[in-house]
């Protein structure tokens, strides 16, 4: 069924396979395809492979894996994949702060199929992986140029690890100066939670600054929190409201005046590429999420990279090894800094992702990066204008001011008028083939929030369709709130009872638990919803 050209709405229905759990599909004796036995010469040369495993680590009995033939396995997982709504299936403006931009498939090809990347081992000597090391070295050069920083580490596998690594560097820096009283860091309510969690994990006390009436971090509160105990500030700008803090230099100066370092969480950098630089604003450290701004798909600690940059005087604390270049030696691993905080991830971190970001930056060039920022801001402000006209939507703070790359909206008014809240709207979206949106970090400072980020990848048509869906749901809410509250209708699972999260006796995250709790004896319809959710 084509999309309605007038309303831009689709008659969507998700695939519904009523799929069993793979363990339930098991038939004793069923199996995959047998691989031919190796040549006798090979077998003789290898000997008994199992003997290389220490006795204590060997299984006494075979694992209780499901016995399913290969074709059924394939079908099973294809079915499940059809019951999801990922970036490659839907207009993914929904995940505000995640910068769900299109990741050109050529990058997958480079990172996943190129033998120079796919077939190498992290323990290979540096002289045999010069190509990869050159990519890492060049990518560092690019990010240095983009941020103004002097060195980068690609070990942290995500923004939170970067914040933790930075916290460790902050601690090492103050310790080296025998300044041991600095036990506190400061962050803001609309900064990312990792800016509190990273330092906290590293042992700091964390002070959070609430927003002022315009939505900026309250600078007077910030100044009141600063003291000789302040080790560093960890701050996001623009924060998740999408509002750029124009007084950021005052924050940095005030922090430096008391001897604290300044860390810039640049997970929201998409609207600033080629426009502002962290180092120019005075920051000592910063990080980029390559899995957001630099096109690597999100990977749940798999493919993510929190590229951590710092000013020259902090470079000696960065994790090792670092990739360096010498005319004679070529590219090499440098383990030489005795002040390094050590490793935060094995080897060089998620190197495939570095290849993707390198490729993406090469495709764009300096001007292309600048254009990325401009387009993402333009898209966002176009969308904000459309949404500001949808009944029930409120845009808090800084009225009349443009946002950068994302906006924190709220359905506060819709909830007051109709009883339909953000989670109701979120569920109904799925009926139009859109992924549910992201609300906000917790606790919600603004009621009934939703955060959208239409980065540069999305066309005007994509944005128009997305807004058309929200406009339609708002209309439905005012006309028939119950209808929205009972949604979704065109999904595999009608509605998942959320409070079940609080019921440990009814949750199973492994098959063994599932059997142990006797959940296999319950009715199949109930299990279906439980399964999909957990």
């Amino acid at each position: 069924m084509p999309r309605d050209p007038d309303t831009l709405l689709r008659k969507f229905h998700e695939a519904r396979w009523d799929e069993q759990i793979i363990f339930e599909m098991s038939v004793p004796g069923e199996r995959g395809i047998l691989v031919n036995e190796a040549d006798p010469k090979v077998r003789k040369a290898v000997g008994n492979a199992a003997s290389s495993i220490p006795n204590g680590l060997r299984r006494k009995s075979a694992p209780k894996l499901p016995e399913v033939n290969q074709m059924r396995v394939l079908r099973h997982f294809m079915h499940l994949s059809q019951e999801t709504m990922g970036t490659d299936v839907t207009i993914d403006i929904s995940q505000g702060t995640c910068t769900m931009k299109y990741s050109p498939k050529v990058q997958e090809h480079m990172a996943g199929r190129h033998p120079g990347i796919r077939e190498i081992h992290p323990l290979q000597p540096a002289e045999t992986v010069q190509g990869l090391l050159e990519i890492i070295y060049s990518l560092e050069k690019f990010l240095k140029e983009i941020s103004g920083m002097d060195r980068f580490s690609f070990q942290p596998a995500g923004g939170a690890q970067a914040a933790y690594t930075a916290s460790s560097i902050v601690r090492a820096y103050h310790a080296s100066r025998k300044d041991l009283e600095r036990t506190e860091t400061i962050t803001t309510m609309f900064s990312h939670p990792c800016d509190a969690a990273g330092p906290s994990t590293a042992g700091f006390n964390v002070i959070t600054i609430m927003p002022d009436k315009d939505g900026y971090a309250d600078i007077d509160a910030f100044k009141a929190a600063l003291s000789k105990r302040t080790a560093a500030i960890f701050i996001t700008n623009p924060e998740d409201t999408g509002i750029y803090n124009p007084r950021i230099d005052e924050f940095v100066k005030a922090a430096h005046d008391v001897g604290a370092l300044c860390y810039y969480d640049q997970a929201n950098a998409n609207g600033m590429l080629g426009i502002t630089r962290a180092r120019d604003a005075g920051f000592d450290l910063c990080h980029f999420n390559l899995h957001k701004t630099f096109s690597v798909p999100h990977g749940s600690m798999g493919g993510a990279v929190g590229a951590l940059g710092c000013a020259g005087y902090l470079a000696k604390y960065l994790p090792v090894p670092q990739v360096k270049y010498d005319k004679k030696k070529g590219y090499y691993y440098d383990y030489g800094t005795k002040d390094s905080i050590g490793k935060v991830r094995s080897f060089m971190g998620n190197t495939q992702s570095l290849v993707k970001s390198y490729s993406w930056i090469m495709q764009h060039g300096a001007e292309g990066l600048h254009e990325t920022a401009v387009c993402s801001v333009l898209n966002n402000n176009y969308m904000m204008k459309l949404l500001s006209e949808v009944p029930g939507v409120t845009i808090h703070y800084a009225p009349g001011k443009r946002r950068l790359e994302q906006v924190r909206y709220t359905w506060e008014q819709l909830k007051k008028d109709t009883g339909v809240g953000t989670e109701d709207v979120m569920r109904r979206m799925a009926d139009f083939g859109l992924q549910h949106y992201w609300t906000s970090h917790h606790p919600w400072v603004l009621p009934e929030p939703f955060t959208l980020e239409p980065c540069e990848s999305y066309s005007k048509d994509d944005i128009d369709e997305y807004v058309a869906v929200l406009r339609q749901i708002s209309k439905e809410a005012y006309e028939n709130p119950e209808f929205v509250k009972n949604s979704p209708y065109n999904q595999v699972v009608h509605r998942v009872p959320n409070p079940s999260i609080n019921e440990p006796e009814r949750i199973a995250v492994t098959w063994r638990q599932y059997l142990k709790k006797g959940l296999d004896k319950k009715s199949s319809s109930k299990l279906q919803s439980k399964r999909v959710h957990s």
Binding site: M189, A196, S200, F204, N205, V206, I207, T208, I209, M210, P211, D212, K213, D218, D220, A221, F222, A224, A225, K415, K416, D417, T418, G419, G421, E423, T439, H442, P443, W444, V445, L446, P447, E448, P481, E482, K485, P497, N498, P499, S500, I501, N502, E503, E505, R506, K522
Partner: protein, 385 residues
């Protein structure tokens, strides 16, 4: 907090909803009275042309609930106390008790609440204000989950949904969820007689059990990753690591301070001010004078308080024992404010407020305070008087 109801793994039993309307609540507001506590004031309100607010508001909430009318059993008192409005909204309630139409009073509210608890309602939905909440609290305590449809003139208590419609919505979700999550909401009221004379005297009467999501801006099911218990553990640990054996610790009222002391296996009075020295409670439910005696001339003392009610007051509402004199003596540097991040967020950007009765002391407290929100976690909050 877990629900009173037993969690069952089979088909859920039919849920019971008690509906209670205080027919005179909210009448005083538009005619400039401060409330309708007491029969005389109610008559005065009627004479001034006041119209009942609560039935209309209860109807708004019930209309939202109407789609589930066949799923639940509804119990109410007759006529204006619930039956009429339920029938208007399409329900067929089981009607209990008797009333004298046009002459209901707080005694009827108490009777109705008591009867409904006896009949085992899962939720008691009432339309009224602070006075109604107090009446209900007096007879049901924390035995049953309660939710207020905001319909009164005074609504300082944290037991009301933000709008009648939301009350209907929360009720529906609570009754449909297999294990409705609850928390404790403050029951506060101001003395109407002194308020009409221009004095505000707000008292904390106790706590009712309410659905968790009625209190906070966000619904519980989407709530953060930490439970209330974990938050309190974090706050308590942070507090304990700085505690000094010789110092007098004056704990203000509230569930947060009670739960903190429970971490030390100390029992705290919920509504009173208790004093702890060297890990032991040395005095319970003290008044201003007793506090003064305990503090002596120069004993080091610290006050631990949490915002009371939805307005963000840390002094002057529900903890008047901590007078200007006491607070002034302890001094700003020795006042420790504790709260969950959720509670601070629910203030919607408003500052913390102080009203100790002593303007000089109030002014000395202004500025910023570091509120303990967890282990090693603080939020800077503005204090205004």
């Amino acid at each position: 907090m877990s629900s009173q109801r037993k969690r069952s793994t089979g088909e859920p039993a039919r849920r019971k909803l008690g509906v209670l309307v205080n027919p005179v609540a909210g009448m005083g507001g538009r005619v400039g009275l401060k409330g309708t506590d007491g029969a005389e004031v109610t008559r005065e309100a009627l004479r001034l042309g006041a119209e009942p607010e609560s039935p209309r508001r209860a109807f708004e909430a019930l209309r939202v609930l109407a789609p589930m009318k066949d799923e639940i059993d509804v119990i109410s008192f007759p006529g204006e106390m619930g039956e009429d409005i339920l029938r208007d909204a399409g329900f067929l309630p089981k009607v209990i008790g008797t009333i004298r139409p046009g002459q209901t009073s707080s005694a009827d509210t108490e009777r109705a609440a008591k009867e409904m608890v006896k009949l085992g309602v899962d939720l008691l939905l009432f339309a009224g204000g602070d006075g109604t909440a107090r009446d209900i609290y007096r007879v049901v305590g924390r035995d049953v989950t309660v939710l207020g449809v905001p319909a009164g003139v005074k609504m300082h208590s944290a037991v009301f949904a933000i709008t009648p419609r939301v009350a209907g919505d929360v009720t529906m979700r609570f009754l449909r969820s297999p294990a409705g999550d609850t928390t404790e909401g403050e029951v506060m009221d101001i003395d109407e007689v002194s308020f009409r004379k221009g004095f505000l005297n707000a008292r904390l009467y106790g706590y009712l059990r309410v659905p968790r999501e009625s209190q906070h801006l966000q619904s519980a099911k989407s709530g953060g990753t930490r439970t209330e218990k974990q938050v309190v553990q974090g706050i308590a640990t942070e507090l304990f690591r700085t505690m000094d054996k010789a110092c007098l610790y004056i704990f203000g009222p509230g569930t947060t301070t009670r739960d903190i002391l429970a971490q030390l296996h100390l029992e705290k009075t919920l509504l009173g001010v208790d004093v702890v020295v060297g890990g032991r409670v040395v005095a319970r439910d003290v008044n201003e004078k007793q506090l003064g005696l305990l503090m002596g001339r120069d004993k080091p003392a610290k006050i631990i308080v949490t915002p009371i009610g939805g307005q963000g007051y840390i002094f002057g509402r529900g903890n008047q024992q901590l007078s200007g004199k006491i607070v002034g003596r302890v001094g700003k540097d020795n006042i420790i404010v504790v709260a969950s991040k959720e509670k601070l967020a629910s203030l919607n950007g408003r500052p913390l407020l102080v009203d100790t009765g002593d303007a000089l002391v109030d002014r000395s407290l202004e500025g910023y305070v570091r509120v303990i929100v967890g282990f090693g976690e603080y939020v800077m909050c503005k204090v205004e008087s």
